[in-house]
Amino acid sequence: MTQRLIIDGCLRRSGFTLEVQLDIGLDQAVGLQGATGAGKTTLLRIMAGLEPGFIGRLQCGDSVWHDSAKGVSLPAHLRRLGVVFQDARLLPGRTVEHNLVFAVQRSPSKFTDLQLATLVRDFYIDGLLDQQVDTLSGGERQRVSLVQALLTRPQLLLLDEPLSANDSEHRWQVAARLSDWLREQEVPLIYVSHSADELHLLTRKILKLEAGQIVAQGPTSDMLKLISAHASLPATVLEVNETSGRVMLRLEQSRGISGISGLSPGDRICVSHQLEQDLDVGASLQPQTQQDE
């Protein structure tokens, strides 16, 4: 049976009200989209049990996490979550390794050493283990925080722009690893991002928030308004992942693609491709308009 996440309630603050009725299946990873200040982070914090002002009901699977009417509120530490906050907070004054150990010690079941080593390598933090967290760059902090979240063996993963500070190469590789990991471990995901390409890769469904309300929801491909087109794009294969069947490609630059409208110079687009037998690339292009930050 599909686990469902049900939220019905509101949070009032001076100048801002979040009001949400929501019932989504957690078998598909969910993206949260919306302008800054729309309430994405607040909604995640409500799910995590960090907003004491939330009035209403919140249920994840069989367990009721919050029910104001019955005076029930499961504290954050019992919800078995993995969270990456926007500011990728780590425990200060400790090394990366200590931070990871902190998470492992509180995880209900342990990983094997091999799994740990793989995880640390896959998310490009194997060289950072002895470093004090205060010396890390923004992207490094985010990756450590992400691994920390995965290590707690969460029943629900809440990620708030977890890759935004990474350079584009790391961002892609880490997003791809994350996607593999989620499929392998079957962990439900709620993913906040401004980046259409991350949402496209990681989520199957998108909720759009505006001024504290959910204004639209639908499959990711519809919500991102993917434009389908066929084009031959010469590319170099960078990496082949045998288990997931994922292939990393570098597309050659400055190639013309015809048959797509609605684009103008300077637009950032996302190309998703499926390799066909003859190694032509079927591409769907999607304009990623600049969102106001």
Partner: protein, 225 residues
Amino acid sequence: MSADLQTVWLTVLLASVTTLMLLFLATPLAWWLANSASRLRSIVESLVAMPLVLPPTVLGFYLLVLLNPDSFLGGLWVRATGDSLTFSFSGLVIASVIYSLPFMVQPLQSAFRAVPMSVRESAAVMGASPRDCFFSVVLPLSRRGFLTGMVLTFAHTIGEFGVVLMMGGNIPGETRVLSIAIYEHVETLNYDAAHVLALGLMSFSFLSLWLVYRVAGRGAEVVRG
């Protein structure tokens, strides 16, 4: 001189017992003060800070009234232990704990406040209960607050005079602490003996404060990263 050595030993013992007791009493109190949104907080804060502004004689006077064997509390103690709380070492410990309370509570309170809520939240979502979070996250980050509080409490208790005089008197081996001994040496015009003790206290106070500022200074650098 051996009488003065006994005095030094008694004073150090009093300061140690007081510091240890305050460590356990002030930690939960400071934690509550650092986190509470209750209206009671400002009242409790004021009460805790009272010994900073109150003349020690006033504090000593009320303690004498409250704890003497004829009073309710003092009487209970006499029946339970057979000892008086006034003019005794146990009485001095109680007096010192109250007298030095702000010196332990305030550094701890600011240390606890300096631990960002965000850090506690991230510990919580990783599965750390509030208790777990306090011991494994907050305490290590508050090390400097604890050191400052302990050094200040110890040093402050070492220099106690007015409260002791009011409710402890001057009983060698029981209540005669350093500052009382100095007072007595001066009264009897024994300036040489007074000099030895006074200079000792001066150096000790300087060293304690220097330690506190050194630790605090290094803390600031670490925070700046």
